[in-house]
Symmetry: C2
Subunit: 360 residues, 2 copies
Amino acid sequence: MHNSYSYQALFRFTLNVFKKMGCNDTHADTATSVLLSADMRGIDSHGIARLSGYVRLWEAGRVNPVPDIRIVHETPSSAVVDGDKGLGLVVAHEAMKIAIKKAEAVGTGWVSVKNSNHFGIAGVHAMMALEKDMIGMAMTNASALVAPTFSAERMLGTNPIAVAIPAGKEQPFVADLATTTVANGKLEVASRKNEAIPEGWAQDKQGRPSEDPGCIKEGGALLPLGGDRMHGSHKGYALSSVVDIFSAVLSGASYGPWAPPFPAYIPMPENMPGEGLGHFLGAMRVDAFRSKESFFDNMDKWIDRFKNAKPAAGHDRVLIPGMPEMEKEAYHKMHGIPLLKPVVEDLNALAGKLGISCLP
Amino acid sequence: MHNSYSYQALFRFTLNVFKKMGCNDTHADTATSVLLSADMRGIDSHGIARLSGYVRLWEAGRVNPVPDIRIVHETPSSAVVDGDKGLGLVVAHEAMKIAIKKAEAVGTGWVSVKNSNHFGIAGVHAMMALEKDMIGMAMTNASALVAPTFSAERMLGTNPIAVAIPAGKEQPFVADLATTTVANGKLEVASRKNEAIPEGWAQDKQGRPSEDPGCIKEGGALLPLGGDRMHGSHKGYALSSVVDIFSAVLSGASYGPWAPPFPAYIPMPENMPGEGLGHFLGAMRVDAFRSKESFFDNMDKWIDRFKNAKPAAGHDRVLIPGMPEMEKEAYHKMHGIPLLKPVVEDLNALAGKLGISCLP
């Protein structure tokens, strides 16, 4: 069903694609490493499998490969960045650098971004703060696929929140979560297998609970984290809304049902109230709050205590957020990254179209 | 079953209690208005019904009525505040003032608090930012009642997150949510009625799903938002962890299973790694990102669009976070605040003990 490829092989291939789009060397390098971090961490849906989607956005004129990414408004601890229609993979990376620089100067830095595109996985941008002994945060809005509690209409994206927190001896804590019950990918898998989905994942066009994985394609919606009102979906809806507002209302991007779609074949929404997709990035120096040493000591103690919590019946360990992804990354470094056959075929077709070497 | 009392009557009563504890006039006033904001907003579990609980903490020597609340570490955009064992109601209020002051100076302000106690509802602290045209955030850790995904052990509190966002013509957006599926109060209600609870709310001592509302008292635990792994409980667990770390690891408060309990009869945890309970408060000036006018225009448009989303079958409107609480507040202003008979009896017994006037 799949072949495995070394990170280096996928890197060379992806770099060539971004260069063919017209990205300069630095941007192509950033876009490649941000995109492939998803594959490395086992979040296949957001990695190289999307590469041809980015290319189609460029072909449709929705991505500018040579963006002038710049600050358009700022204070010592905050900024709004205009991404100039660049690849979100690059724009968010540059915006996070600005957040980190501001945190170096005044303790914390917060950057809201407009006029951007899909930025890959949120976690990788948040994790940029770790090597500076900072806490990193990253959020983004996305095209509407999720219905608020009591709504039949899709109003929000899967709007992820990532928080990366450094530790001393222990591996860092990295939370990276869509504010829905599950990602759309899980419905696609169930659809291919012709399996029903659990209640709480999705609803039909009228807003009634649905166990049909195809309901999204027929005008249904994903549900906010919580699933239904009785299980707290109004909380997932509120969190997703905060991500939308911080990412897009604060920056001047397009929000709610007007967020631009990722698939290039879907027409852009009419009467968009802002420019492009929005992100929100934050960095907080650990020593803006207490000495690094005492923070790291206590963070190690926190992680150690939670790792050693008594497991529930039928389970053998309690996980720290980020642990499964870190384990996958180590595995993929050793054994390569497996790609499904349709993904390889899609990438080689892309190579043919762009006139670059196929995958080895 | 209940009588209604005017806000003024409850205010006078509560103020007298805090003064009897030895709070100065300013602190007694702050504690009273913060506590009663819960009753006004319809979150009965966190309001005057808890007053005798605060008194018992004071009697047990766990609350200092005359705290020296002070900054112990800071940068232009951040601070750690030592609450000196004060009432969280007062400490968090003072800490939020510091966050707001820093936001006035450098765009945003972030304050982590240690050595505090229960701070009432998170929303009221976040909402302090609104009148300054700022976005406010408030979080707190709390005594362990919640099991991480795959854990049989209680490791986290109900750890709420509140975000208050100002608008122009529209009412502000106010999200205020515990990072659990439901609050403990809902289990207590089911327990009194001898009703089973839905799956996804709680688990038993071994970490198995439970429909028994009494399972918490027998060593069980509440579940993180999501309920179980299949419905995203690892996301609720991650969010609750972030609240714990921002509130307590960043400040030097006690975290995880070592967070101090609210009921004074429960002994303090042994080997606490920090001082008291922790909070995290934030303020961001709207015009640290874009002009107030354009932010308010777009925030109004966001709210208006979501209010007018097509309702799901069987529902007549989509709510904006904070709307139900605002409607309750308006109702309580007009018609008074209803208190259950056992709450009134408890308060009048408290009045007798402290030698102050009973409720009218």
